[in-house]
């Protein structure tokens, strides 16, 4: 085991300490003599240099105050450089932040557009699902009413149907209007003309002079043949104008509401609805 480590060094033998002190004092004396000799030589050199007879003087070490000034100046220069670097970094970061904010706004705008498109597609899907989700005539009529109320935004509407070979539209259902206009001849008024020509009427930016209450009239078609018309009157109070989705809903209603009603008639005619 390392027992030797646990035992302290033995003291030097008697008289050894005194001897070592004497040696050190001797070295110290020699060093002092050497310094004095060098100082003498330095002064001698300087004297000769000032007299122009000697070599270049030994450079004198700067005073402590000069050293401190130089150190502070160097620190100041470093600090200025660091400050400049920080300013450049800050400017770069500021530009990057502005770039990120612009990108953020662009993504937010895109998100809004995508969400609006999603809602539009959801609305179209819901409308189609409701129209073709049943073969019961009353439910299809209810679906048309709900689509107009909840997706277009009007609680005033009338559905007219045209029997094959007939020249008169007949009121099939009405919501929010008096329903006194039970029959309309083909070509008579806006609704009659829509049914006769197969072209929708929409009061996009101004009311129709002939029928001011009418917002839109959509021909209901089956395979290109007009089978009726959907008249939509005043919009809900908080809905100011029709939008792009409304145009798509009108197209969808024109193509599918007539077909859905036609299918309910077929279904009844063939007795499937008897239960």
């Amino acid at each position: 085991m390392s027992r030797a480590k646990d035992i302290p060094d033995p003291p030097p033998p008697g008289g050894a300490v005194e001897r070592r002190e004497r040696d050190l004092q001797s070295v110290n004396t020699k060093l002092r003599d050497l310094i004095a000799s060098l100082e003498g030589q330095r002064q001698q050199y300087q004297r000769r240099h000032s007299e122009g007879t000697g070599p270049e003087p030994v450079p004198v070490a700067p005073e402590p105050e000069d050293l401190e000034k130089r150190r502070l100046a160097a620190e100041l220069a470093l600090a200025r450089e660091a400050l400049d670097q920080h300013s450049r970094d800050e400017e770069r970061l500021r530009e990057r932040l502005q770039e990120i904010e612009r990108e953020h706004r662009r993504i937010c705008d895109e998100y809004v557009v995508v969400e609006e498109r999603n809602t539009d597609l959801a609305s179209l899907f819901v409308a189609l699902s409701r129209l073709h989700g049943t073969l019961e005539r009353a439910e299809v009529m209810a679906a048309i009413q709900e689509i107009v109320t909840n997706i277009v935004g009007s609680e005033e509407l009338a559905v007219y149907e045209l029997s094959p070979g007939s020249s008169k539209l007949e009121l099939a259902c009405a919501l929010g209007v008096d329903g006194s206009r039970r029959h309309i001849r083909l070509g008579e008024g806006v609704i009659g003309r829509v049914a006769a020509e197969g072209e929708p009427f929409v009061a996009w930016d101004r009311a129709c002079a002939e029928e001011p209450a009418l917002t839109a009239c959509i021909p209901l078609k089956v395979g290109g043949r007009v089978t009726g018309a959907l008249a939509i009157y005043h919009l809900l109070g908080h809905k100011a104008v029709l939008g792009n989705l409304d145009r798509q809903i009108f197209d969808l209603l024109g193509a599918h509401a007539g077909t859905a009603l036609y299918l309910t008639a077929l279904h009844q005619r063939h007795g499937f609805g008897a239960g």
Partner: protein, 123 residues
Amino acid sequence: MNRKKILLVDDSSTVLLMERMILSKSPYDLVTARDGWEGVEKAKAERPDLILMDVVMPRMDGFEACRRLRADDETREIPVIMVTTRGELQSVESGYESGCSDYVTKPINGLELLSKVRNYLGE
């Protein structure tokens, strides 16, 4: 993670389907009721985190359903958003008097609905 539960109360299949479509993008559990009376019962049984309530419904309208929810200790804290075709001030005031937390108008704007739902669910 705990999924938030939303009770949709409306007598219109179109509106319920529409709300489902809009809310299905987030992981919510959706429960439906077809009138105010059923809505109150479902609220007590299901303890939803939020209720979307139509106003005009058979048996019990949305205002009355909201008043009953507020009168019941079990349901008084559940936020209720009225979904209404009536955007007029008077109708909105009636909604707030009945105790509803907020309202959205029909036709439903998907972004507006999602924004309010997330706000009330603390998301």
